[in-house]
């Protein structure tokens, strides 16, 4: 049941991404190119997704729990920190260079397009590099803390 519903939800997401243009780097980059070949379509993607999610979440999150899990898994960290903003800034630079974001590229894998596969391979390498870097700096911070206390 969990797997079947999750598959259908992924499918709805994948169809939405495919028809919206988010999987098409030319369209994404033209959205950001206000000074050039501006294509405002992505405002409509973002707007449609936000309105539906905002209203839907409002009803769903009034429930005590989701339908097939014991509780809602919502991020509890409320702090704005350098890691969040620095990460978001780097993400934006990469998105501006490549034109793909993860939500656009993962469904686009289904087209079998070579460029998508290349981007996703680099994306996965970046995720592993960041996790390794975090583990290294985390271990160093823990050592410093031990020495100081």
């Amino acid at each position: 049941m969990r797997l079947f519903s999750s598959y259908l939800i992924g499918l709805i997401f994948g169809i939405g991404i495919s028809i919206s243009g988010m999987a098409n780097p030319a369209k994404v980059l033209n959205f950001f190119d206000v000074a050039g070949n501006w294509d405002p379509s992505l405002i409509f993607v973002m707007g449609g997704a936000l309105v539906v999610t905002f209203v839907g979440y409002w009803f769903v999150l009034r429930r005590a729990a989701p339908m097939i899990d014991a509780k809602f898994h919502l991020p509890e960290n409320r702090h704005l920190d350098a890691r969040l903003l620095g990460g978001a800034a780097v993400f934006g630079v990469g998105w501006g260079i490549a034109g793909f974001c993860p939500g656009g590229a993962l469904p686009a894998l289904g087209t079998g397009h070579f460029d998508v596969i290349a981007f996703v391979a680099a994306l996965i390498a970046g995720i592993f590099a960041a996790k390794a870097l975090m583990a290294m700096t985390g271990a160093r911070a823990a050592r410093v803390l031990r020495r100081e206390t």
């Binding site: 686009a108 390498a125 590099a129």
Partner: protein, 146 residues
């Protein structure tokens, strides 16, 4: 870099966005989870830190089936036009991987789900990456003129 003209498609983009929203709401309703591409992919890649990989793999499989469903309905694969070179795709992809890991999310997790919950972190992250993406595209296309 070459630029490719694209056509303004308000209605299909709005419909696509609404479907992205429907998927996000349904995942919260059923499993109580955020529909974030980054989190779902990272969960599959590092299963030791994310014990629950089954549903994530199922969502990924569904996502990848999306373009094939569009092909089945319309007779055409969704259009993927890539106006950048392979090295740019690889460098961009690597930076996106680092950024979404440190930033805990991307367009779907922060930009849609987080903003819809009015999360401060997601609003700040979305504002930040929209600005740096815009600056990057401007610099590449109009300053470097690539």
């Amino acid at each position: 870099m070459m630029t490719i003209d694209t056509i303004f498609t308000p209605w299909v983009s709005l419909a696509g966005g609404a479907l992205i929203g429907v998927a996000s709401v349904l995942l919260m309703l059923t499993l109580g989870r955020i529909m974030g591409a980054t989190g779902i992919l990272a969960g599959v890649l590092t299963p030791t830190t994310h014990p629950d990989t089954g549903w994530r793999l199922a969502v990924l499989a569904g996502m990848i089936s999306g373009p094939l469903a569009v092909l089945a309905f319309s007779g055409e694969m969704p259009e993927i036009q890539v106006p950048v070179s392979l090295p740019m795709l690889l460098v961009g992809g690597f930076l996106v991987g680092i950024g979404v890991t440190y930033g805990s999310g991307c367009t779907s997790g922060h930009g849609v789900c987080g903003m819809a919950r009015l999360s401060r972190r997601s609003i700040a992250a979305t504002a930040t990456f929209m600005v740096t993406t815009g600056i990057t595209v401007f610099v590449i296309r109009h300053v470097l003129g690539a």
